[in-house]
Symmetry: C2
């Protein structure tokens, strides 16, 4: 469990909030991209970026020239708020008011620091590549010195973290159940299409990618557990 704080305690719909580490990790690992929030001159900013979790650290990918990366260079780091959201379905109720969405959403607060150690940075870049294909870091050219210098990575320790989620079916009021309207859930799932090889590629599609001819994975049912995204 992540210890709840003022910033990670629900003011409403408390039953949707959790601080369970395994559940938080599952969302961070399934999602490819996040929203990185920070403050510039008192104003809110958001940079969408890619992330990877390694243990209890969330790493955020960036370029050396981007604003938050520059700001995180200093010894104090950068106060950030990171959100990761997976949309699992749309909920159609008989009443407009009870329309909703099924989702899993992690929000993490803390201070991010620029990763300056080349070994740590290399490990993060390996983890980012492994995230999109287990074993792929051995089937690609690793970064050279120039590429390593051109890549910036922020590290955010996972300490103040919460998960908000809705799952399941329609929550119509008792009095609305006889209304003659369709109600139900439409599951949504980020689904991979068939791999499209670059020109000149002479090797077959790796095993960690969806194979040619295989139909996409069916969407999860709202009541059952959600399988991890294809890697």
């Amino acid at each position: 469990m992540y210890p709840p704080t003022d910033r990670t305690t629900a003011t409403r719909m408390r039953d949707r909030m959790s601080h369970d580490r395994a559940a938080v990790h599952a969302v961070l690992d399934e999602a490819y991209h996040c929203a990185l929030g920070f403050v510039v001159d008192g104003e809110p900013r958001i940079l969408p970026t890619l992330h990877v979790r390694v243990g209890e650290t969330l790493y955020l990918h960036g370029s050396t020239g981007s604003r938050p990366l520059l700001a995180a260079r200093g010894p104090d780091g950068l106060a950030v708020c990171v959100s990761v959201t997976l949309l699992d379905g749309l909920v159609y109720a008989r009443s407009q008011f009870n329309h909703s969405a099924n989702y899993r959403s992690v929000v993490a607060h803390g201070t991010a620091h620029l990763v300056t150690d080349d070994r740590e940075k290399t490990e993060v870049l390996t983890a980012l590549v492994e995230k999109v294909g287990a074993g792929r870091s051995r089937e690609t050219r690793p970064p050279n010195r120039r590429e390593l210098a051109e890549t910036a990575v922020l590290a955010l320790p996972l300490r103040e973290v919460s998960l908000r989620a809705r799952a399941g079916g329609v929550g119509d009021d008792e009095a609305d159940l006889d209304l003659p309207y369709w109600a139900g859930v439409v599951p949504l799932r980020l689904t991979p299409g068939l791999p499209e090889p670059d020109a000149g590629v002479g090797v077959g599609v790796p095993g960690y990618l969806p194979a040619g001819g295989t139909p996409p994975t069916p969407a999860p049912t709202p009541s059952g557990p959600t399988p991890p995204a294809p890697r």
Copy 2:
């Protein structure tokens, strides 16, 4: 075109940035959820929520008790940054450095105000329901007075807005093209599964939902135009 400002001008990869209204609208209309960024006591906060665009206003859905909604109550409104991201594919390069993602991402800056006019609020709630099914606002029970009072909506005028996007294939260096590694793009698409009716529903699946037995829409090719998400 949205007029570029300091906050919506790229400091790097300028070719990925656009201010085209139609392209911005298309992303906002296809995506169901957004990240709403704001500042509390100098610290960044992000609230994931649902949105709908009506003309040149982005409306953000919330509950009357949530922090940003309370903060936006005042005459000055609330300084916000909203980001909406659609992940269109994963890009597998021969070099780890050139791994990337295809995406379309809108960021909007400005001051959000709480919608206090009941007519405007009703129109927004109608638009939110229409977004998940054209015609659905006529096949549902509209909000009553209590439900209207319990729903809060923020309005953000679309003035300072940018779109960042990557599309297309692998960007490997010339020198890497002969490496014996698989490279290519795996398209990703948020795909609806079959509708799961609530218990006791006596009417058929509406036409705006994926019909029973129809296979999911194939993922878009990275070169072609991306069709709008199923409504």
